[in-house]
């Protein structure tokens, strides 16, 4: 615990000092990192009532009720970036959790079994994007003798499914109220929904600007944004981060940064969370830029303040990860088209039935559209089995192939 706190406090202090020193500059990446670290710090405070949730949880509801919340992927990601994840993985494995399971989930279970962080009061599991995450949260709650709330998100996208999820969200709010003693005030929910819509509007423009050729962003700048920012939806922090990115990109449009972009890549699912220079090196050495991340996209319309629960239910149900693989592939092809991507990298996060489970289907779906795909087989947080040299060689070979492909097509085209 002390190592984690030391890391978080030092990082927060460092980021705060830099932001103060740099005055009014947007500094979106630092603001985003600061928000994430502050959230992680709140999760470490034994006096604060916190929630561990499934990724599909609508965090507007929890934020409106003043409950800081996260999901196992956030915990695993923060610990991996701090270089502190391995002991938690080992703790879970020593308790009998299979090393074949997802590293993010195992890390969260290791945090619980080793009592690394204060235990959350609430467990709100969701069956999407993966049922494995739901089992992990259920298991964690049982260790602590707590009852989880489980949100079932069917693959069906009918009106009946929307009503079903909407009713469950109503029960989720009651569950949180029963445990925390806090009511969800109508005015707080309305404000959270409006704030979420403002964040959404900024992000729509941010991601639209990122489709420019050459890309206004570098490969690692938007890392984790689309997956972590939803934790803050409905808060001023999310608005600040999204607004800072928008300001930054508007400034860059006026003074475009110099770029050596030769190839445009799309990264699927999660990035590598532990420290590695691979992606930066790819950009420096080959001009291969990750211009798009699968999660950096807005796939839902503005939320309806008159029907907040229903519109949140629709956002969950219509997320590309909630439907069939065909839906997800259609979304990927749309990203490929909008970002004018040359190739796709699928990390195939070990143990993940979305990442690895759909590998073959995604590969075929993209290849049918003549989009080259590289399937890596990595664990995004567990560096113990990571062979950097091997992955580097595969990435380099893929990029060289794409460059040749581009040269060939340039010769053929007038």
């Amino acid at each position: 615990m002390s190592q984690v706190l030391a890391y978080l406090d030092a990082t927060i202090d460092g980021l705060t000092a830099k932001l103060e020193a740099e005055g009014k500059a947007p500094n979106p990446r630092k603001r985003f990192a600061l928000a994430a670290m502050r959230l992680a710090r709140r999760l470490c405070d034994p006096e604060v009532v916190t929630a561990w949730c499934g990724v599909a949880t609508p965090f507007e509801l929890l934020n409106a009720m003043g409950v800081p919340a996260c999901y196992p992927e956030f915990i695993g990601g923060v610990l991996a970036s701090a270089g502190l994840v391995v002991p938690t993985l080992e703790a879970a494995e020593q308790c009998g959790y299979s090393s074949d399971s997802c590293g993010y989930h195992r890390a969260a279970l290791g945090v619980i079994t080793s009592r690394l962080l204060p235990p959350p009061r609430l467990f709100l599991a969701t069956s999407q994007p993966c049922s494995a995450g739901m089992y992990a949260l259920e298991s964690a709650s049982r260790i602590l003798g707590r009852s989880p709330f489980v949100l079932h998100v069917p693959t069906d996208r009918s009106e009946a499914a929307t009503s079903y999820v909407t009713r469950q969200l109503g029960r989720l709010v009651l569950h949180v109220s029963a445990i925390t003693g806090r009511r969800l005030a109508e005015a707080d929910l309305a404000e959270a929904i409006l704030a979420s819509n403002r964040t959404r509007a900024s992000l729509v423009e941010v991601f639209e600007r990122c489709t420019d050729v050459p890309s206004p962003i570098r490969s690692t700048e938007l890392k984790n944004l689309g997956i972590v920012l939803p934790l803050f939806f409905g808060t001023a922090e999310a608005e600040t981060v999204a607004g800072a990115w928008l300001d930054e990109l508007r400034l860059r449009a006026e003074r475009p940064p110099k770029t050596g972009e030769r190839l445009r890549l799309l990264w699927l699912q999660n990035r590598l969370q532990f420290k590695s220079k691979l992606i930066e090196d790819l950009e420096t050495d080959y001009g291969a830029v990750i211009v798009a991340d699968e999660f950096n996209d807005i796939t839902w319309p503005p939320l309806d303040p008159e029907n907040p629960l229903q519109s949140l239910a629709e956002r969950i149900l219509f997320h590309p990860y909630s439907g069939t693989a065909e839906v997800r592939i259609a979304h990927l092809l749309d990203l490929v088209r909008r970002y004018r991507v040359d190739g796709v990298i699928n990390p195939c996060h070990f143990g993940c039935k979305q990442g690895t489970g759909s590998r073959g289907l995604i590969e075929r779906g993209l290849r049918r559209a003549e989009v080259p795909v590289l399937n890596l087989e990595v664990d995004c947080i567990d560096s113990r089995n990571f062979s950097e040299g091997q992955v580097r060689t595969r990435l380099q070979a893929f990029v060289e192939l794409l460059l040749q492909r581009r040269e060939l097509s340039a010769e053929v085209l007038p």
């Binding site: 049982r142 260790i143 079932h152 069939t324 039935k353 690895t356 759909s358």
Partner: protein
């Protein structure tokens, strides 16, 4: 036209009511790479094995029902939708929490499935046909209680005459024939269990390779209680029926009965259901087991997530638990044989002590 399925929550009575044959696809274990190439090698052997069978399925008229209960089943639905197309693939979402809300949604899903079957077969769903098929399934569920008693008395026999084999046969037979089959099996009085064997409770996932059962028996263990996914669960649970009920009301009652079956690891704890761990501990106790064997499959997230809790609970109950993590494939791991023999020795030594 038959409806193929691979999950114990498949609504067989609904298929019966349409006059459709239903067949459970027991996974093949010959070449897991077939499905591995389609999806990924790191998927559970059950899904890979079922897909292997489907990809070589001879009848292009047959339908397949995927009950979406876990990530691997979702991926199976994806693979099937890609290869067979939506016209032949029926998808049924299984609520993760068998509470009132989940039951209502499941009932609505069954009504929708019935409408889809009407479209596909051109036959309407009549309440009286549904009532009759539910009544027959109820009867089968009651017979299975007798089978459970017989297994408790004499232990599971292996080979073609074994209880496990009969249970698997039932999933392939029309309900009327299934009743005859189980009657014939139960006609001879049970034999006394060999006193030199040690009674154990065997539970876990469906096993693509039935030779695991042979290994258990060869090690000198008598399986006096069965709790694998493909044992009794596809035929549980008998429930009260009234002939005057409408089709939706019958399907609501059926949905409730289906979700009330013995706990599946894909379902989460909620107020209405007993926990998986409590269920298996009670079942082990009920069959006078001196130990328990949990058969899991590599990459089966639902069971593997519960292994630590099962270990703790069985340890606290002073009931030794052996966990075997199998993988579908042509070769049986020799390690499983050795571990089962060692487990049998341990249980025997404890009995003597």
């Amino acid at each position: 036209m038959a409806v193929l399925y691979a999950c114990s929550f498949a609504p067989l009575a609904l298929f019966d009511a349409f006059g459709l044959t239903s067949r459970r696809l027991v996974p093949s274990a010959k070449d897991p790479a077939v499905a591995g190439g389609m999806l990924h090698d790191n998927l559970c052997g059950h899904v890979k094995g079922v897909l292997e069978r489907i990809f070589s399925w001879p009848d292009p008229q047959d339908l397949f029902l995927v009950v979406v209960s876990c990530d691997a089943m979702r991926r199976m639905a994806d693979a099937l939708l890609e290869t067979w197309g939506p016209a032949r693939v029926l998808v049924l979402d299984l609520p993760v929490c068998p509470d009132e809300e989940g039951m209502r949604y499941f009932a609505a899903s069954l009504i929708k499935l019935g409408q889809r079957l009407t479209e596909l077969t051109g036959r309407p769903l009549h309440a009286h046909a549904l009532y009759r098929s539910l009544a027959l399934r109820n009867e089968l569920a009651e017979h299975l209680e007798r089978l459970r008693g017989q297994v408790h008395t004499e232990g599971v026999r292996t080979g073609p005459a074994g209880a496990m084999n009969v249970l698997r046969e039932l999933t392939d037979l029309p309900v009327g024939e299934a009743l005859e089959r189980i009657d014939a099996f139960l006609a001879p009085p049970p034999l006394p269990r060999d006193p030199n064997t040690v009674p154990v409770y065997l539970f876990g996932t469906i096993q693509p390779d039935p030779r695991y059962f042979d290994l258990v028996v060869e090690a000198g263990l008598a399986v006096t209680g069965l709790g694998t996914c493909d044992a009794y669960r596809p035929h549980e649970v008998a429930f009260a029926l009234a002939p005057e009920l409408s089709t939706p009301a019958l399907l609501e009652a059926y949905a409730s009965a289906l979700l009330g079956r013995s706990p599946c690891p894909t379902l989460c704890r909620c107020e209405r259901s007993s926990t998986l761990v409590a269920h298996h501990l009670a079942a082990a106790h009920a069959c006078s087991a001196r130990g328990a064997v949990l058969l899991t499959l590599k990459y089966c997230d639902p069971y593997l997530a519960k292994v630590p809790e099962l270990r703790r609970a069985f340890q606290e109950a002073n009931c030794p638990l052996l966990v075997l993590e199998g993988e579908a494939g042509p070769n049986l791991p020799g390690q499983a044989r050795t571990r089962l023999q060692a487990f049998a020795e341990l249980l025997t030594a404890r009995g003597v002590a």
